[in-house]
Amino acid sequence: MSIILLIEQVLNGLQFGVMLFLMAAGLTLIFGVMGLINLAHGSLYMVGAFAAAGTAAATGSFVLALAASLVAAATAGAIVELTVIRRLYDRDHLDQVLATFALILIFSEGTRWIFGSFPLFLDIPEYLSGPVTLPGGIEYPLYRLTIILIGLAIAAGLFALIAKTRIGIQIRAGESDREMIGALGVNIARLYTLIFALGAALAGFAGALIGAIQSVQVGMGEPVLILAFVVIVIGGIGSIKGALVGAILVGLTDTLGGFLLPRLFATFMDASAAMSVGSALAAMSIYILMAGVLLVRPTGLFGGQ
């Protein structure tokens, strides 16, 4: 195992983590501020990817496609919040889970109805394709590097938004005491719609970025959603900082676990047995990480209380 391969895997883990952060940020804000479990967050990821693929096919522009993903997901998020989610804030979590699960089915079949059952094509633009050579002779795809940078930039933007702006103050206040900020004259209904649309836009943007290197198809959001829930549980529900740290931890654990564990077992087992035991354990590694974190800090790394 060379050091170059290891560095490449660390970059892969980082890129995966940054993508997870975009999903988890919205999820953790929505749960933290509104107390809502939104299973349909993965559907918004899918909406973003489909909007991007549709726009890219029509215009040929990747930048327009990314913009379309933001607009489409934010709009879908706002509509869903106004029509469905709004009625759920006072209900218990089971009702929320039921209603948002129904939304998954509606989004999935609706998307199939519009776009058909076959995966769509969305590709990396010419100017971002191919590998670049990093210092030390590491060849790494330019697009993945770009994803890392965009993700980190969005994370910085979100921190600035939360820490420095009026909306950020309201969000933080909403997390600590929902009733109180309503009583102080903040238009809580509008704030909720805004947060929901913001979370949706981030998820849709992640869907578009990832859609270009994976497949744009119905149901693409649900596996990511599960990981995003793991991330916010590890990071502490409601904490953006927790979402970032949790996402990168999960990304690195998943990638390096899948890479290193089989090799570790191969030092004292025969190759094929090591492969199967290592792969099985690697698949569990993030859940083991989650259990470990919860054991030490039951509210997550940056959770309140």
């Binding site: 993945r144 744009v216 990638t255 890479f259």
Partner: protein, 378 residues
């Protein structure tokens, strides 16, 4: 029933009367919603095209969506057998669903014609006289890929597949005929969509070729990421990742890739030419491997209906076994375990106008049967 026994006894053609009287009812359980819906829709469309072309009034098809869930498939099968009273079941795409439905259905005396899944268990010890596979045994296309690798002088393959039964069958199938060395062997997570880590390992391994079995969206992701990684060693795969429904989503990244299949649209025989043209006319898209399997399944079934009545189980079974129909893949016969004995071809992904599709460039295996036939006692 009594009337029919009586009719048979006095020597009147029982088949003709029964066929007039009640016909045959087919229950199709396939995946029409969710991530894998494209495959089920193709099988259904191919099957129904054949039924429509035959224009017979003695066949009725009931179609239900299994949502790719084994429990749903089992419920549907119970419903079809008990309340719809179907004679023949077909349609299942996925091996895990097939394992949940087929043994129970054939145990209740129904016929099952598989248009896709061919798990090794049902080809070997679990074979059944009423179960016919019209597609392939799961290992077949992978075995063909191994044979192709030998003929293409690939001697150091890196192989990967998801960690589930069909994935293990795939790598076992590849290794069965492949004679070279393995640069690496990886089982990925089922449903994994990011292959950056695997691609980095392929790069570091010094392999001269990559063989992968990653059906559906997994294959699309892998190929796009592989093309973007700058790696240029040849990729070989089974037809599933280079199918008509998927290729458009992969795009340029798939061009030139060799893959193995028992069917392609350019196989030159009358049945296939007519099938490709009529499928395009009917559905406005090119047929896929799955559509061809659905089409063949329906034609096999109707060829048996011409010879025997389904209520005469022995005769109907014998008629199915004869496989006396014009398969779109050319020669087609059943082996001792009711699985196909057929040629498997090597295809290359090409671009025709704006459409990505496949072209046959050679034959990997001729009259190939599966490796489990010996274990089948029936």
């Amino acid at each position: 029933m009594k009337f029919r026994t009586f009719a048979a006894a006095i020597g009147i053609s029982a088949t003709a009367i029964a066929a007039q009287a009640e016909g045959l009812k087919v229950g199709m359980i396939t995946t029409l919603s969710g991530g894998g819906a494209g495959l089920g829709i193709d099988v259904r469309d191919g099957f129904m095209l054949a039924v429509k072309q035959a224009a017979r009034d003695d066949i009725e098809v009931v179609i239900e969506d299994d949502q790719r869930k084994p429990d749903v498939a089992v419920q549907l099968a119970d419903k079809m057998i008990q309340s719809e009273k179907v004679d023949v079941l077909t349609g299942i795409i996925w091996s895990n669903l097939a394992m949940a439905v087929i043994p129970a259905s054939v145990a209740q005396g129904k016929f099952y014609l598989s248009p896709n899944a061919g798990p090794s268990q049902l080809a070997g010890k679990g074979c059944d006289p009423n179960y016919f596979n019209v597609a392939w045994q799961n290992d077949n296309l992978h075995e063909a890929a191994g044979a192709y690798a030998n003929s293409a002088d690939l001697t150091n393959s890196f192989i990967l597949a998801p960690n589930y039964p069909a994935g293990q069958d795939a790598l076992t199938g590849y290794k069965r005929l492949y004679e070279g060395e393995l640069a690496g062997e990886i089982y990925t997570k089922l449903g994994q969509t990011d292959y950056a880590s695997e691609i980095a390992q392929i790069r570091a391994s010094g392999a001269d070729s990559v063989y992968f079995f990653l059906p559906g969206g997994m294959g699309i992701s892998f190929l796009k990421q592989y093309a973007d990684s700058g790696l240029d060693i040849p990729v070989v795969g089974p037809a599933f990742s280079f199918d008509q429904g998927i290729l458009q989503a992969v795009g340029e990244a798939a061009l030139g890739v060799k893959n193995t299949s028992q069917w392609n649209k350019d196989i030159d025989n009358a049945a296939n030419n007519a099938f490709v043209a009529s499928f395009q006319k009917e559905y406005d898209r090119l047929p896929s491997l799955y559509a061809s399997q659905g089409f063949d399944t329906a034609n096999l079934l109707m060829s048996a209906m011409d010879k025997a009545d389904v209520s005469d189980t022995e005769a109907f079974r014998a008629a199915l076994k004869e496989a006396d129909f014009e398969s779109v893949r050319g020669d087609f016969a059943f082996g001792s375990n009711n699985h196909p004995v057929q040629d498997i071809y090597v295809r290359e992904v090409i671009k025709e106008g704006d459409v990505f599709t496949n072209k046959i460039i050679g034959t990997a295996l001729e009259d190939h049967a599966d490796a489990y036939a010996d274990q089948c006692n029936m």
